[in-house]
């Protein structure tokens, strides 16, 4: 390598060389599939019995069918309900734990231990965790026998046959899997707040609740917005847990069927037109949410 002249320009071509693998793989495995997905959404292409229908160009007909079919609204509602059921307890818990862990005066012992424990479920295989809950909460499973042994109920409670409890279990699993992650993110944000603000509030005689609501929470807003939107994007992808728990049926009465489960169903039955249209809708929604995240983190960057 010649070192003396034209150094900056000569070196900078290496920027492109080092970027090449990323760009190449991104284009082949993400961009081309995206274009192909959008392209497919304009074609009628499915199996009717053993005969292949299409692919025929049908314009926006797949989208019309998707929205007039009504199923998508049911599944969109399920997805949102499951997300809210999981997110509200999760954010309350995370704010509380984050505030405790980052509170210097409270001096909690064993914080490392607790942080390790609450993050643990995040790394568990969602499908195995879901299978575990399925066996534990089945009609003759350990939870039912435990509840009967302590005399809480007389006969097995059918957790998976009631809308409320089936959704509750999914929300519980997701909440367990994600609140540790949220806590650590929020805690990192809380640690970043200038401690002199807390001291000033303390001198002014603020209670810990006042400090939390008047100082911590407003200053945490950018991170909170980030957490809410990324969690919503994650919530829209909800798949493994309800898929395994209900064996892909979304029972009882399709009340736990999510949008990605719906997509998965179309992909398996090779109804590529409908799968394409649904993917495009999901892409647009997540794209808008991603732009919001991008704006929030962009603003955050300016503050350092």
């Amino acid at each position: 390598m010649r070192k003396s002249k034209g150094k900056v320009v000569r070196y900078n071509k290496w920027g492109y060389i080092f970027l090449l693998p990323f760009i190449l793989v991104y284009v082949v495995f993400q961009l081309i599939p995206l274009v192909n997905t959008i392209y497919n959404s304009f074609f009628e292409n499915y199996m009717s019995g053993l005969t292949q229908i299409g692919p025929n160009f049908v314009g926006l007909e797949n989208y019309e069918k998707l929205f007039s079919g009504g199923d998508i609204w049911v599944y969109a509602k399920n997805t949102i309900v499951l997300w809210i059921m999981c997110f509200i307890p999760q954010i309350i818990l995370s704010l509380l734990l984050g505030a405790w862990f980052s509170d210097v005066r409270l001096r909690l012992k064993g914080a490392r231990f607790f942080k390790t424990v609450i993050y643990l479920p995040n790394l568990i295989m969602a499908s195995a965790f879901s299978m575990l809950f399925f066996t534990l909460f089945s009609d003759g499973g350990p939870i039912n026998s435990l509840l009967m042994q302590i005399g809480f109920i007389d006969e097995p409670y059918k957790f998976l046959s009631n809308t409320g409890s089936a959704r509750g279990l999914i929300a519980l699993m997701n909440c367990l899997m994600w609140f540790g992650n949220t806590t650590i993110l929020l805690m990192a944000g809380m640690m970043g707040i200038d401690t002199s603000l807390f001291e000033a509030a303390e001198v002014d005689g603020a209670t810990s609740a006042q400090v939390f609501f008047r100082v911590t929470l407003p200053l945490l807003r950018p991170i909170l917005v980030y957490v809410v939107i990324t969690s919503l994007i994650g919530g829209l992808q909800l798949f493994d847990v309800p898929q395994i728990l209900t064996n892909g049926t979304g029972d009882p009465m399709r009340s736990t069927m999510t949008l990605i489960m719906f997509l998965n169903k179309h992909l398996y039955s090779k109804n590529y037109g409908m799968a394409g249209a649904l993917s495009v809708i999901l892409f647009i929604i997540t794209g808008i949410l991603s732009l919001l995240v991008f704006k929030v983190t962009g603003n955050d960057k300016r503050k350092g």
Binding site: W14, L19, L108, Y119, L123, M125, P142, S208, F239, N247
Partner: protein, 286 residues
Amino acid sequence: MNENLGLKKGIGLHARRVIAYTVLIIITFFCLFWFYVLFINATRSNGELQAGFTLLPSTHLLENWTNLVNGTLPVWNGLINSLIVSAGSAVLSVYFSTMTAYAIHAYDFRLKKFIYPFILMVMMIPTQVTALGFINLVSDMGLEDSFIPLIVPTIAAPVTFFYMKQYMESTLPLSLIEAARIDGSGEFRTFNAIVLPLMKPAIAVQAIFTFVSSWNNYFTPALILHDDKKKTLPILIAQLRAADWLKFDMGQVYVMIAFSIFPVIIVYLILSKHIVQGVALGSVKG
């Protein structure tokens, strides 16, 4: 002094501490209870499991395990397949994400202003929404039942890239690269011999994260892998769920679940300090 101050207003510091510990203990219970029951049940025979719930382990762990391994589920294949896919993904993803981050961090080129925000923008787009095109591409390439479409795409991992970029900003001074150039080191060698070793802590954290998320991934592998011999553990779990499970020996079911979950737990407990710190580092700041 602080203690006295705390006691005067609102709820006392002491009371708050008691509340905090109580809540934390309840949460700990909720996080660990399931895995404890899983462990206990994996050691019990089918007959004992039907008899009801207990908190003490039994002695049938090995028996359940031998039954599972000799059964119809290709468990060993699943384990090896999962290991290949996860390890391959972790290595490729971490190496090339560091390289991408280095390209953005150390060089000034015209397209940089366009590419960096682009990567950040696509960071959140889930892979599910392009799954249809992905399946079509994979079958056009004749790569169904192959691990390549599960491993190679992780080279373009925006989240890993972003983390590496953040880490580089705080630990890799450009003057160091300049010094390497003056000493006559080529750019590629500088990256491999100087940059990579400096990035070790970040590489370790991201390797673990990529490994675990690939280990746990169910959606994409289930669409690509159809041959029983090629299936990864999450697909086998789904298969177990889809089988008429009442006919099944429940001891085996629990051992199978434990087999998918406990290796990750053990690795996590050994490395927990780095992982928990890593999550905090990768947050929005910066």
